[in-house]
Structures are given as C-alpha cells and as structure tokens.
Symmetry: C2
Amino acid sequence: MFEVPPSYNEADSYVYASIKPVLRIEAAGLDECLHRILAEDIVSLKNTPPFNRATMDGYAIRAKDTVGAAADSPKAFEIIDYLYAGGVSKKYISENECIHITTGAKIPDGADSVVVAEKTGIENGRLCLYEPVNYGENIEAEGRDIKKGRVLLKQGAFLTPAKIGVVAAQGISHLKIFEKPKIAIISNGEELAEVGEILKDGQIYDVNSYIVGSIVKDNGCLPLKFGIVGDNPQQIKSVIEEALKVSDFVFISGGSSKGDKDYMSEILQKLGKVPAFKAKAANGKSGMLIIAEGKPVLGTPGFPSSCLINACVLLVPALRKMAQIPSIYNMSITAKMSEKIDFSKNITGRFLAVKIEGERAFPIENDNKGLANIAKADGYILLNDETAVIEEGTAVSVNLF
Amino acid sequence: MFEVPPSYNEADSYVYASIKPVLRIEAAGLDECLHRILAEDIVSLKNTPPFNRATMDGYAIRAKDTVGAAADSPKAFEIIDYLYAGGVSKKYISENECIHITTGAKIPDGADSVVVAEKTGIENGRLCLYEPVNYGENIEAEGRDIKKGRVLLKQGAFLTPAKIGVVAAQGISHLKIFEKPKIAIISNGEELAEVGEILKDGQIYDVNSYIVGSIVKDNGCLPLKFGIVGDNPQQIKSVIEEALKVSDFVFISGGSSKGDKDYMSEILQKLGKVPAFKAKAANGKSGMLIIAEGKPVLGTPGFPSSCLINACVLLVPALRKMAQIPSIYNMSITAKMSEKIDFSKNITGRFLAVKIEGERAFPIENDNKGLANIAKADGYILLNDETAVIEEGTAVSVNLF
C-alpha cells in the first residue's frame, strides 16, 4: 500500500491497468445481442441478395431484343409469365419474350434487364416498348451487398442495429457474444438494514447496493448482490472470498474510515497479493483497490454520496473495460459551465455533479455524505488533477448518470 | 395525404406532434427502475439520517462539561458504555460521563457532541480531554440530508442511480413507473423468410424486424414482433388491426413502392382517419404515417438500409417522446467532419451514416438498399433541410447507433 495516497488520476491508471476484459463466451439469440460484444468472426455464408433481383416493378427482358425500339417503331414482346416477389418462374425468356415482375422478385432465367412498367404499353395482350433498355437496368446483382466468404463482422464488434441486421440477412439466429462481467456488490456495516424491512433504532437502509447495482447494469455488467455483511472481520473476509469465486470484480462499501470496528483496510491488505492503493477522494474519504486471486477488489466509504463518487470515478472505467464497450459509447454530452468553479474549494475533489439546463451545466452542491442533493444532478464532470479552475462558459464534457 | 411529400423536417414535426407519452403505470422493484420514468411523487416518509449520528469514531459527550479543559488542566470523564454503529445505548449521559462511539452510530441520550479519539487520552480507565469540544461537533443531525414530508422526486423523473439511492434511503422497495410503450413490428413481403429457416429460391430473410426491434429496445420501448405478412391486402389490414389493439405504435416495413402487389399505401390510407403523409426520404423511397384508432402507424420501404434510415429519422424521436426520455439522454457525441459533404449529392437525403475515428466523423457510402456498408457506421448525422454543405472540420452532432 502506498504511504501517500495517489491522486485520482494515478488511481484511475492503476485500476485501469489491472483490469482485463472478461473473455468468457455465451450464445444468445439475435434479439438479445444489441450493444453486446461479438465473440466470433462472422463470415458470410451466402451472397446478399442471394439472387439477381428486380429493383422496380416492370418486365424482365433481354436487352439485346430491345435495340432499335423507338416511339415511331415500337417493339412487341410476348408476356409469358407473371412473377411476384417471393415467387420463381419456371419459364425461360427467349427472343422477344418477357415476364411481368415486381420489385424484389428473382430475375427469371434468360432475362438480363428490367424495363419499368411506366415506359411500356400493352397492345393486344403484348408488351410494347418505345425505347431500348440498357443491359442490367433495374437489377440488383446477386452478392452486390454482401459477397459469400467475406468477413462481415470481427470478434470484438459492438453490435449496433445495422450489425444485427447484417447477421439477420445471413439467416444467422444466434451469435457467440462475450458474457457480461460479473460484479459482486457487498455492503458492510452493522447499522445497515435491507430496503423493505422495518428499521430498528440505530439502523439505516443499505442504499449503496442499489446505487452501485444500477451503475453496474448501466455499464454493460451484471450485478451480483451479496447484501449486507456486519462488522465481524472473519465474516467480511469470507464473504469477499465467496464473492471472488463467482465474480470478476468485488465492490464493497463501508468500513473504510479508521475506527474500532473498522477492519476493512486490514482485511483488504491481507487478501491482496499485489500492491494496493488508497485513492484520495473527497473530504479525506478514499477508495482502496487490491488484487486478490487475480481479481480486483474495490473498497469505498459507506456514505452513499462518497460511494457514488468512487463508483463513478474508479468503478465505471473498470466496468467498461471489462465489458469492452467502445469509448465513444460513453454516455456524455457537452455543456457550458454556468459559473466559475474553483476546484481547490470543491470538497469532492475532481468530481463535480451538475444539472443540465439548456446548454449549461450548473454545479450541484454536495456534502459528500447525503444523497438528496446529488440526486438532482443529471451527470458529473471529471477533472484532470491539473485543472484548478473552470471559467464560466467553458465547454465541459458531462458524463450522464 | 399530401400531394407533395413534405420534407423530413416537416415529417418529423408531424410525427412528433401526433405522438403522446404512454401513461399506463406499472409497479417495479427498485432494481428494475434504472432509466425508467417515475409515475408518482415520492414524499419522504422519514428523516435521513433517521437519528443524530456520529460522523467520526470517538466519544459522545456533553459539550458544556468540556469547558475549561486544557493541556495543563485536563478534564476526566467516566466511560459508561461502548457503542457501535447499528447498536443503541440504554444509558443516559450525565455530567462528566461519556460513551465510546463509532462512526454511524446513534448519539446516545444526553450527549450533544462527539470528540474524536485522537484528541483524547485514557488514564485509570477514564477519558482525559485536553481541550474543549464544540457543541454539535462530529454529529450529523437527524434529517440533515432529507427531511420528512419533503417531495423527494416528482412524477416524470428519469431514474438515475442517485435517484434510486434516494428512494432506497427511504426504505421503499417498489416504485410506480410508466410502462414501456409497446411497438408492433410487422414485415411485409411475400419473399420474406424468418431468420433461422432455410431460404427457398426467390426468398430473402426478414432483416427489418431485427433492426427495428433493436432500435425500439434502445429507445426505452418494448418491441412486439408480429413477424412476416404476405402481400394479401386483407391479411395486411387484419394484422395491422390486430397490432393496433395491443400496441401504442405500429411499424410496418415493405410494400411502400408502387407496384402490382403493393397495397400498403392504399391500406394505410383506408385505415387512417386523419391526414397521413408520405415523407420524401432517400432515393425516392419514403415513409408514410397515418393515425388509426388514435394510434400512429408508420410504413417504410422494405430495403433494410432504407428501413433503418426511416426508423432513425421518423421512429426514434417518436419512441423517445412516448417513453418520456429526456432529450439530454440521447446517445450522441460531437465530432469533426472529416471532409466536405455536399448534401445535394447525398442520396439518403438529410441522413448521413458516419464512422468515428478519433475526433473525426467519416462519411459511410450508402446505396440505400444494402446493409453491409451502413453496418460499418457508428452513428449518423441528421441535417436540417436548410443545410446544403458541411465543410471539412465542422463540428457535428453524431447520434450513436
């Protein structure tokens, strides 16, 4: 453990460097794959479209038969079949023959072009053409969109609606995707009661597992709630060990200030086999990270606001790296700072909760203990350690809750 | 129906004006409420914290007893109890008495201050104080964060992790939230086959229900998939009528170009009781909206890329209005245009798919039919109808897929 707590920036780098993407694979139906990460390469099994098809309603025809057609010398064609999208004609188009065809239908054998209905006439049941047709006109060639054998999507792709569409176009109904990283959430404190229970005298509700559970879900991971653990060090240790067995990351709040019944620091340092750190956060409160059994364990103070801030600053980047979410998909907006902010006077360090009104970001007062104020915020600004002051009107990037 | 198709901007306004938020209410456990919309006011039932509590480890004491304590004349106090967070002392603190207390514990009766352990000594089992304590020191007063009877959250609030935390702090385990709007998705076309089936000759897969289903989910709504319907007008009409009974919005793709078996426009106009419109989209293809049984029905072309564009331009704003998602929670980022774009030459109208690399947005070529190219895009830019050209380096807002 560092004697001098590192800055939040250093802490970030430390947490970030110790985090690895979770590479376990699961199969999922295509409907469940939105914004998940593809765990396989997708090679196209067939051409898309799978056949030459008409892009307009009209008549499938041989272009060479139309040469010389003109307003004053129309050419006539036998209509040998009527073909709709989804259907197939068994007829072969020979000289001066045509087949009526609708958009999306497969071009019948023998034809090489489609003439649109508007450019034709019908006389005595035969098609009349008043101008020649270009070879290939109004036909989308087989494989024009996707050629068979092409790598359509690579492992690691973030699955957007269009990417899911490309998979569907191949007829593939299931994909291999990376599992959501599992985040164990533990709340420590003898004074905590489960939400829904009746409070006994001296108790408060466990708020943090709800806050952190929401943050975990919102960042592509799966919360595993381990509930409340009291101040018994042996019990805390065994719950963390249990959590390490089934999760990829353990988050524990509470018990991180020095006190008679506060064994968290000692427990974490005993569990951790590699250097741990305590990140200086707001108001002297800090988060602590260790690596145990090769997995990160992050401890934060129990005050809900302090827990929330630590989760935003230290946990969120870790979650997104584990879940492999591309950085552009961070939920953030740009806004203009409503007033000058002096961060040397900001008790929550480099974290500033803000409310968005129009194009402006208004700072939310925060005492680092309660929640009522911070709950008014729409998001937060994270500052570089170097930033001391933000002037009024400066464009800032706001991470949305 | 308008004789002259309105611009996409006009179409937007039209769709938007005809859309109403869905106000059906459901109850949900707090863990399921992230980013949902609160359907009730939450009034605090109790003070938070629910009692005066210690914010440091130390000794609960009466401030007036400490007056006059100094390094050269320490004052001594009887330690009458040991109190931990979550516990309650049955003892009352009288003159020159104190109780050992840890952070978060309820202040025992009689005490009005907490002196931190570091400022004290122990002599013959008694506490020694070398300086006086201020009244109220190291105590967080009952109700300091939240006062009983206060409106904590209002109906319509977008539930962020901190807002969920505020509810949890009240011990409330379930909330009334607005139901997700239900969006019926229908794919029309005799040539369509379900993903997972073997294609017959002349068939292609139904891609659109996957694309639109993803978009619906990603914008706070619930997709109801009605699958594929063939080109039989009576069948199309009855599926739409069925969908209108159970959904808030009907989306149907395919059959919107004029053709022999293309009955969509006629069907929609027969169903619609208020003026419908056809919005001019890309490449002559267009979306059509009618209001039937008081509910919007949006028809788009069947080409996947065209369906996707219409869904982004016309459906997404409708979904977000129905679901009451605040506009700042649109997933968008700001990027710089990689090159000059002349929209008079852009076949997809005011829609431009882009790929993000670093800070720059690169345009993705799009033929308005296939999907392979558009699937490379990270998001899209929507232009005002007035915008003709975007110069290289211009900052643009990219809606992420």
